[in-house]
């Protein structure tokens, strides 16, 4: 360890200052949103500490649009996608990690294409498919293109490959079949990967906007993001405090989850990113 000399100490303080200014700048929009949402409209840009606190903006937002339905839709959507992704990715990743079969490598490359070309880019054609299937304006249609996830398959394949063979052999001696081995050995050992992938998937699909916007057109199917955009774009006298309250409301579950499980979030995104 080197001790900080005089000049170093100066540069260290400058760095600290810079880091905190940047941090403040980065948090500013959120802090500002919190301020506006919890204060009456006339204090929206008037930062006096004596301003009265209120929940009226949230009440107004909640009553102005069917947010309860949007919340339910988003939760159904996110769970549907996550469960589908976990099941399909697990099966496929296991095959890619542990089986030798002809065409495996080619097939794997074909899977990886989805990392580059995501479903939102192919919206025109996917809309046509959904139309043919009679699924336009359903939650199924929002989720279906994402259920097979190249990212999930890739991540789980990497994890499964690190599982020691001895464990598998031991399970077989105990009488496990191939799928039993997957369920009793591989899946439990891949828990951290599942958590990482789950967090990334949930936050991605909670926030996803373009494809849901295209494929839905009614209150009963719209997720929160689309609902919020409809809410804030219909002219309602542009009451910023109410719009900000709605904005915070829709982000709240993720934000609270993130603040509570910060370390897991950061590590999950990290783990998911190392390819």
């Amino acid at each position: 360890m080197t001790r900080l000399g005089g000049e170093n100490r100066l540069s260290f303080s400058l760095e600290t200052l810079g880091a905190w200014l940047l941090g403040l700048l980065w948090l500013a929009p959120l802090l500002y949103a919190v301020w506006t949402a919890f204060h009456p409209g006339e204090y929206a840009t008037n930062f006096v500490l004596t301003a009265p606190l209120t929940l009226q903006n949230f009440v107004a937002a909640w009553n102005a649009a069917p947010f309860a339905t949007y919340f339910v839709n988003t939760m159904v959507l996110v769970s549907f996608i996550l469960i589908g992704q976990l099941v399909l990715s697990t099966l496929a990743a296991f095959a890619f990690a542990r089986f030798a079969f002809s065409g495996r490598d080619l097939l794997f490359y074909l899977v990886l294409i989805q990392l580059m070309i995501t479903p939102d880019v192919l919206a025109v054609e996917n809309y046509r498919t959904m139309y043919a299937l009679g699924l336009v304006d359903t939650i199924t249609a929002i989720g279906l293109p994402y259920i097979a996830s190249a990212f999930g398959i890739f991540l789980l394949r990497q994890t499964f490959k690190t599982v020691p063979r001895e464990l598998e052999d031991a399970a077989r001696v105990e009488g496990c079949g191939t799928l039993g081995v997957l369920w009793r050995v591989y899946v439990p050992l891949a828990r951290p990967t599942y958590i990482a992938y789950g967090l990334v998937s949930v936050s991605f699909h909670w926030n996803n906007f373009l494809w849901p916007l295209i494929i839905t057109n009614s209150v009963s199917t719209r997720p929160l993001t689309v609902g919020l955009s409809v809410f804030s774009s219909t002219d309602q006298g542009i009451d910023w405090s109410v719009i900000t309250a709605a904005t915070l409301m829709t982000s709240a579950p993720l934000l609270v989850g993130f603040l509570l499980f910060q370390r897991q979030f950061v590590q999950s995104f990290m783990r998911a990113g190392i390819r």
Binding site: W26, L110, V111, I113, V124
Partner: protein, 292 residues
């Protein structure tokens, strides 16, 4: 490895569900887009018919398409270098011994978990002329009264700022992970040699981070052509198409004017850009942007 015919059969069964969905929603649409880019858009009773390159000619003759393409390049050039550089700076700062670095890391990362649609609302308020925070702040210096989002000269840059703000913290995570991989004895050895911090950063840290930089840059490129959510809230492509980018314009052509043929031709351009990115990644990764 599990081999043999029975296992091969089982393996195919295991990959089947994922493969079917991938074929239906990724592979087929790519081919379908190419096919439909040569077809006219069905209107009323007139079914689609083969029109050759007509959609492409329409596209190339459309000044708004060129505008959107050009905007997209500016958007990419504005977002990518700045967000990657900021991500690196953030990661280095947060992994040094700065007081409160846990809190800082959270501050940098928070935009990542927030919905783009939601934060765009907040930024919209920032940019609002007169009433908005930015204008009020600048008014203190007598610089107020600019309609940031309403002027074609500044609107795209406003969009770029929001993208950088949203992405930098996300990219920081990958640099953080990579910085942890650098063995501490390297730093000790450099300290014994008497090399300064900046020198060490430039000659040791930066080269070791090259694979991460490549990975992040590729992701930034993809996002520059895919991340359009905030445009829906901030500008809707305006003023005068100043903030329309490729994917946004494809959306307008495909789902507001319902011209599928033209939208397919434009999607092909977007797919070509993404394919070029994939090839670039492959080439650079082969060359190993890494000295050891």
């Amino acid at each position: 490895m599990l081999t043999g015919r029975r296992n091969a059969f089982l393996a195919w069964l295991l990959v089947l569900p994922a493969s079917v969905l991938l074929v239906v929603f990724t592979h087929y649409p790519v081919i379908g887009t190419a096919w439909h880019s040569f077809m006219s858009t069905p209107r009323g009773r007139r079914p689609a018919r083969f029109v050759g390159l007509e959609n492409y000619q329409t596209m190339l003759a459309d000044p708004i398409f060129w505008k959107a393409f050009y905007n997209n390049l500016i958007y990419a050039a504005g977002t990518i270098p700045l967000s990657v550089a900021l991500a690196l700076a953030m990661a280095v700062l947060v992994s040094s011994r700065i007081p409160g670095r846990g809190l800082l890391r959270m501050a940098y990362f928070t935009p990542t978990v927030l919905p783009m649609i939601a934060v765009a609302n907040i930024w919209l308020f920032f940019y609002t002329p007169g009433y908005g925070l930015l204008d009020q702040f600048l008014a203190l210096f007598g610089l107020g009264g600019t309609n940031w989002l309403g002027s074609p000269d500044t609107a795209l840059w406003c969009v770029i700022v929001v993208s950088i703000w949203k992405e930098a913290g996300f990219f920081m995570i990958f640099y953080l992970a990579a910085l942890q991989q650098i063995p501490p004895d390297l730093r000790e050895a450099a300290a014994i040699e008497g090399s300064g911090r900046w020198y060490f950063f430039r000659r040791v840290t930066l080269p070791l981070l090259m694979p991460t930089t490549l990975f992040i840059t590729i992701n930034a490129v993809i996002n520059a052509f895919r991340l359009v959510d905030h445009i829906f809230i901030l500008t809707r492509g305006g003023p005068d198409n100043a903030t329309s980018v490729l994917l946004f314009y494809i959306y307008e052509i495909g789902f507001k004017f319902w011209d599928e043929g033209l939208a397919s031709a434009m999607t092909i351009v977007l797919l070509a850009v993404l394919a070029a990115t994939a090839i670039a990644q492959f080439v650079f990764a082969e060359k190993r942007v890494h000295y050891q």
